[in-house]
């Protein structure tokens, strides 16, 4: 039995709560990703997580993300491509109650249809 490791990555108004339990990771995004260059913060963290040994599945919970600028989108796409390269399955969950999330993340969902193992869908906060 493994013990879950919890860690929070913070930059400006954005927090990413990471729970790592063996082959399973949950990333809960909270606040706003509105930095001028969000990739400077996000890309190294997400790249490192995608390389965890024995990682099989990631849940990315975006339901508590209040706002995201368009500069954040490439970081999400790069993350998806890294996960695909490492054969890691991923669920990206967004809030159906948020107008901007429904549109932005549906656009991402349309792209994710061609990536094996990656799903983007509306739902409730990961437990």
């Amino acid at each position: 039995m493994t013990t879950a490791v919890k860690n929070t990555h913070t930059r400006g108004l954005l927090k990413i709560h990471e729970t790592h339990d063996g082959s399973h990771v949950i990333l809960e995004w909270e606040g706003k990703s509105v930095d001028k260059n969000p990739g400077d913060f996000l890309n190294p963290i997400l790249a490192r997580i995608a390389e965890y040994p024995d990682l099989k599945k990631i849940e990315v919970d975006l339901t508590q993300l209040q706002q995201m600028n368009s500069s954040t989108m490439p970081s999400l796409i790069i993350f998806m491509k890294n996960l695909e390269r490492n054969s890691v399955a991923a669920d990206f969950i967004y809030s159906p109650d948020s107008e901007w999330q429904r549109i932005s993340l549906q656009m991402l969902a349309n792209l994710a249809k061609i990536i094996p193992g990656i799903k983007v869908f509306p739902g409730n906060r990961a437990v």
């Binding site: 400006g12 108004l13 509105v34 001028k36 706002q67 600028n69 368009s70 500069s71 989108m73 490439p74 970081s75 796409i77 790069i78 491509k81 107008e99 901007w100 549109i103 932005s104 656009m107 991402l108 349309n110 792209l111």
Partner: protein, 170 residues
Amino acid sequence: MRAGESRGVFTLRNLDIVAEMEPVYEYVHDLIESLTHVYENHEHYEGAQLALYELFENAVKYSASNPPEKIRFSFRVNHLQSCIMIRNKCVSIENISALTRAIDEINMSPEGDTLYQARMRELFENPYQDRVRLGLLRIVVEAGFRLRYLKSKKFIEVIAIKKNQLRGGE
């Protein structure tokens, strides 16, 4: 009213702010967060926040910095419409041309979300591009604004307008 009570149910119908500031992203960020803190419960503010971030980000990225030229900004909301205007001096004529071409393309397209999806596919093919070029599309598709512009030499004024839907009792 004590300061701590200012975030309750919001009843003010009209917002009218005019300001100018140095083209520094941190200043813009602080301004929008101050507005959000006060107006987040305003019935027409939600979509405006997205438009504010995207328009200001463009203005700061492409503003002349040597010497620095202030960004002029107005934000007006009433029960009929929300209107954001941002005027700045660009680094080059090429920046203005790229911006006006992008707005023209969006305005001439019958389906903004088709352009949005096409741009997402381009980003998917190559996410390491210098310019993301999603901001204007998000303002139109996600926040429901229409975009206009006025240009004069190296100055560009971008105007985002949205008709506000009347809600119960109005």
